[in-house]
Symmetry: C2
Subunit: 447 residues, 2 copies
Amino acid sequence: MTNAPRHFSALAKRSSEPPISWLMKLALDRPDLISLAVGFTDNETLPVEEVGALTRAILQRPKTARAALQYGTTIGLLQLRRELLRRWQKQDGISKSRITTDDIVVTDGSQQLLYLVSEVLCDPGDIVIVEDPTYFVYLGIVEAMGIRAVGFDSISYLKSKLDDLKRRRLLSRLKMLYLVTYFQNPTGRTWSLEMRRELLAIVKHYERAAGHPVYIVEDAAYRDLRFEGDPAVAGFKSLDLRNERVIYTNTLTKPFATGFRIGYGILPPSLGRAVLRSKGNHDFGTSNFLQTILARALAEGVYDRHLPIIADGYRRKRDVMMEELERAFGCSGASAKRRNSDAMLTICASQKRGYTNTEEGVHKALFNKPHGGMYVWVELDPGVNTGVKSRLFKRALDAGVLYVPGEMCYCNDPSRPIPQNCMRLSFGAPTIQQIQKGIRLLANALG
Amino acid sequence: MTNAPRHFSALAKRSSEPPISWLMKLALDRPDLISLAVGFTDNETLPVEEVGALTRAILQRPKTARAALQYGTTIGLLQLRRELLRRWQKQDGISKSRITTDDIVVTDGSQQLLYLVSEVLCDPGDIVIVEDPTYFVYLGIVEAMGIRAVGFDSISYLKSKLDDLKRRRLLSRLKMLYLVTYFQNPTGRTWSLEMRRELLAIVKHYERAAGHPVYIVEDAAYRDLRFEGDPAVAGFKSLDLRNERVIYTNTLTKPFATGFRIGYGILPPSLGRAVLRSKGNHDFGTSNFLQTILARALAEGVYDRHLPIIADGYRRKRDVMMEELERAFGCSGASAKRRNSDAMLTICASQKRGYTNTEEGVHKALFNKPHGGMYVWVELDPGVNTGVKSRLFKRALDAGVLYVPGEMCYCNDPSRPIPQNCMRLSFGAPTIQQIQKGIRLLANALG
């Protein structure tokens, strides 16, 4: 799979090039290319003036300036962790819990938190359950660490799979479920509170057979990128106030300045300690300068005042992408809507039957017009192959437009076939004109 | 060793709390404490105005501002890698080599590069050779990854050890040598060019029996923190212009703004590719904003103009620490000087016999008055125990002064005893007054 030499480690041999690396490289190397692929954020709404003002304020006083330019602690800046705790309490409506600033670890993007948690929990052969489809960069970690991934797209399938693991005496190898819970990458779906409760109950039930806590990693990376609908539902962490089972991770990057790469996790104490010990070896602390800027951005409300500006930009782009998709595929309203029994993940859109335009239903979570995040998941006719080596991908690239083949977003679970007819489109980075042109080129490539 | 629960990974179970984490925490939690322990840098000479001007320049133009606040690539900003390549060529006097910007990876401090290289080369049970003593944070990586460490303090011992490994058919498990080559942490020693040549020849000799390249990781973290003597000698990388065997790593953090945490590595291509694949999983790229600031700092000469300012500060502090040590221990000049056969690592200083004040000899490398870096290594009488649980460490802490027990700087090599009578003192962070008071308190604690 990789060309790592024989004398490299098992991890190196398992690590293929992460798709994100070549997608980013393709996009940066061909500035003419319209990238509907990478999850870059909107250039127009980056907080240029805000960062300028915050930086000036920090650097103009010798005391704050020197503290910002000096090393910090491995766990992260206390002022920032205080702001993050407050923010989580407010968003989840929590007045009292066992969670303190000691349970929060600041990391180099939320990606580093995912790496650290996986690394301290999983040995090769251990099992992690992920959504089908899921965030493909997390699948790179799974592959590199030799973790066995199990995919699910409905609660009923999850239960049958857990029963199967129990029967095969494999539950002791199950370490965690990785879930992208708000405006999911790639499907745009949000977990309802009822679904969260149900999942948590299931996990607790099977834990007895596992013989140890089975953790839920809640990746809330898109939570603050909401541009429509009611305030997002409370997270899994609000159902775990004793802080025993849920790892909450989020980023301060996507809804503000992606060039910062600052994320964080709220973790159960024993797991937090293990993550911290490992982070001590990784880098012994994230940039204190960036943490100082973000702590101030949160404390002074700059961050929250910037959110609606970003939201406006994304909503407008989402609308344009929807319009173009409807035009290109001859939308016929809700005619092609499909659901499966618990309707968790199914997205529908097809070239022939028209693009489906359903309302968001938090409980049913049948998304395709996302109310947040930056992704539209397109399911084409079963016969259409969207893969990296497909005719369509090549034709699209030749025409000057890049998308993420849906196959990249599925884990390597031998018990499940990987759909070949999906694609992830992002309206984050491209301009409105690029979205319009990109979707048209894509429709032409479909021919 | 750790309290990681049974269901955590083998890595988590092997990872004890890195000493740096609690040293940093102790120092930050007790602001009254005089820390001669942590490797924080000098507060007074941090480039506050410089960072302000660079940031303003970047943010005032929308194009550069947006690029800086947007994601970058996993490998790092091209402008920065160009500057780093130029800088290395200039410092090592190289006009032609196989090394290009594609061989440079920007990381979250050089620590992350050390983690990545170790991770892609080593499986548990593999062998890494380190200096005795060495940078203790690297030893945390060694422990967590289950790497067997072999320590050496002379070329002759190294040879005998390699012969021993060969006899025991263990050379195939030897992956790399980790060396801090300029103003070493903790001894202040610099490797001479002759010694480098000799070591490289030895490595090449034993490589045949190993059956694969044995890499030399050259950690040059203190190279730019030179405040006395001739320009530092060329690095190991200058002896590896075909880019096959040496990993050069350095930081832009220590000699500029530690709060940035930006390092980099120059690596042989196959290793660079593996490191990049793994970095894609770790965080898929270091802060583009910080990289943009540093690229500009290098391109405009801000970085290089700042070096003498920092050097002046450190030289002055080094002198004060020397004076105080001489006063405290009744220095008798060079009387207590000792050498071993190839004089690579021996440092001498003793309470009774007086503190030794020898000139730097790059070839002999018998340091204790460092010409760069920020550390003084003190060897006390054999009967004095400096360990974490010693009477001395506790007395010093009670008196309000913190040092790094020398024992922390030795790898866990069962074939070698760990000296108990050494300490690492840093003059990086404390003020001149704190150094004076700190050494006096330390001398009192010694009783």
